[in-house]
Symmetry: C2
Subunit: 365 residues, 2 copies
């Protein structure tokens, strides 16, 4: 079931998996489920294999990436694997000095703040991503034991990469980023254009190596108002989707706190729009493009409630998602939280499958 166009260009396109079909608003028999951050910190088997490694070291070790990518597929029975990586991996691969400090996040040795800094920013060559291509190939190989489960590629969006570079690390308020956006708009634009090319190359290599879909994650876009987003950020996110359009794969675009941004984000070019847990799916439905799928949006904090309280909430989310006039992919409205009971996501997968089969069968009858 793996698609590796670079090596087998003449093979016929494989039948779409349920994840791909739903994200392309095509008919499905049940709603597919995956969880943002399903590969990672909430799983004991993840913490075990990560012992003694750094985050970026792990992200650049193909056997480890493939193992971590597969862990939640084995445990939860999800309908897709998400490529284990980090938002700053393509920056590191481009030659930027960045490390991820535990408890802090990414720290950039030389923040990017002047015209000279932007001019000096290196491009990302596909050759610098040989380990990423290998990680994807190994993950896809491992997924052969799970028929119908595709790999979703992953990258951070240009604005989010820009914020890390300008601030020099994670920021609560993005003061320097916004000051540049407002005070030096041409410089800001030049920086985001360079970062859009880096995001696109990072995803292009994943798709060429066997990923069947991708998610462009804009962690910090939700800190902007819609006018700033539309003027300064949207064109660069749209450039990433445009650069990958020839792959003709399903794509997801998501950021937290983006309720006010969903309308412009829906125009960036993804086949599916990710919805933050703060937004009713019915409201998101009205903000999406015609025919665009929705993804979301159970509040990850709700997974800490008893199953008997959580189950009806899962069912209600599925019913709201299936009321959308377009495809629907079940997910959380943000990533799986660290302390989540690792038995709960699997229960959710079963419940989403059960409820969605029921709703879709009724609809077909």
């Amino acid at each position: 079931m793996t698609a590796m166009p670079a090596q087998t260009p003449a093979s016929p396109a494989p039948a779409p998996t349920v994840l791909e079909a739903a994200a392309l608003s095509q008919p499905v028999e049940h709603t597919p489920v995956w969880f943002m951050r399903q590969a990672g910190r909430s799983l004991p088997e993840y913490r075990a294999v990560r012992e003694g490694t750094t985050m970026l070291g792990a992200c650049r070790t193909p056997e480890l990436v493939a193992e971590i990518t597969l862990q939640p597929v084995r445990r939860h029975g999800v309908d897709a694997a998400i490529f284990f990586s980090d938002i700053v991996v393509p920056l590191q691969a481009a030659g930027i000095d960045v490390e991820i400090q535990p408890g802090v996040g990414p720290v950039i040795a030389s923040p990017v703040r002047t015209a000279a800094d932007v001019a000096a920013l290196p491009a990302l060559e596909p050759e610098a991503l040989a380990d990423i291509a290998e990680s994807v190939r190994l993950s896809v190989q491992g997924l052969e034991a799970h028929p119908g489960v595709p790999l979703i590629g992953f990258a951070g969006a240009p604005f989010t990469l820009a914020s890390y570079l300008i601030e020099g690390g994670p920021s609560k308020n993005h003061e320097k980023t916004k000051a540049m956006m407002l005070g030096a708009p041409q410089l800001f634009d030049a920086l985001l254009a360079k970062l859009a090319a880096i995001s696109a190359t990072f995803l292009d290599v994943q798709l060429a190596s066997g990923a069947r879909a991708f998610q462009l994650f804009d962690s910090w876009a939700g800190y902007l108002g819609p006018a700033d987003y539309e003027r300064a950020v949207l064109p660069h996110s749209a450039a990433v989707f445009a650069a990958l359009a020839h792959h003709r794969v399903p794509s997801f675009h998501f950021g937290v706190q983006t309720g006010e941004l969903l309308r412009p984000m829906s125009r960036a070019g993804s086949t599916a729009l990710g919805v933050d847990f703060r937004v009713e799916l019915a409201a998101a439905s009205a903000r999406a493009q015609p025919g665009q799928a929705l993804q979301g949006n159970l509040d990850p904090a709700m997974l800490f409630a008893d199953w008997e309280a959580l189950r009806p909430r899962v069912e209600a989310t599925v019913r709201q998602g299936l009321a959308h006039d377009g495809g629907y992919v079940f997910n959380l409205g943000h990533g799986v939280l660290p302390g989540t009971d690792p038995r709960v996501p699997g229960l959710i997968v079963e419940e989403v499958h059960r409820v969605s089969r029921e709703v879709l069968a009724e609809r077909g009858a």
Copy 2:
């Protein structure tokens, strides 16, 4: 100009200040300005007087509270003072063991998680707030040197107090709070009812001592979707406004990340609705009640841009606010950030006054 009904019940009601008039959607000659967190960490004179004190110690020392409350009035020329306090002060006054740890925030010695914990929660008696009454009286006395500048009282909303009590301190994801809300709704409801009474008492004492308006701040409401907010939180915030309605003063209701909540929040009972910086004022205008004033919403991070880039943004915000079909109070869309250049808020005050006089004069002509 001070109103102290408890001591001079027969005196006629003083003429409304520009802040009060705008927040009641009455005619004004210019738009009033104040800044959330104007009293505090961004001012060198604040850091000087706070030296050697704890946060809660400072909040319970009337002379210090009055001095800190007055500092931004002297420096920036704002149209209102905001009472210097902290969200957990009424909890401490009620007898709950809480301290504010620098770099962490409020830490609750015994988190509230069971029916017994909720039952044991003490009520707040007005007698426990003698220092708060004195702080307000001293602040109002100090404001006599600034005619037309009223004092705005301040309290945290029931949901925000509940989150601190349930989590035991600040929380990024509010897992325990949401798990109780979903899994033990009656217990959650009982807790919020008790906290609504505490918030109301805290504000009642401030209003009885000379505050002319108040803001109910719901720091964490923006972490909820609208259905949960409306069912579990809104009735308790509304109870606070209802308990204070007999004061007949202007009131503000605000929380960050509340774009999706503005419609239900607008029904809580405030005369003015505070708007987060993520939301266009035109969009907020459509979500407010008829005749309800708006307050907001310049992004505090934008204050880090050069004045020549920031000035047009201030003007645009004022013009958007004055396009609202109701009163308009200029403010930021969240609190003043710690590293803000203390000269900038004063420039904004002048610009808001200049632009709004121009717009309102044109309108009158």
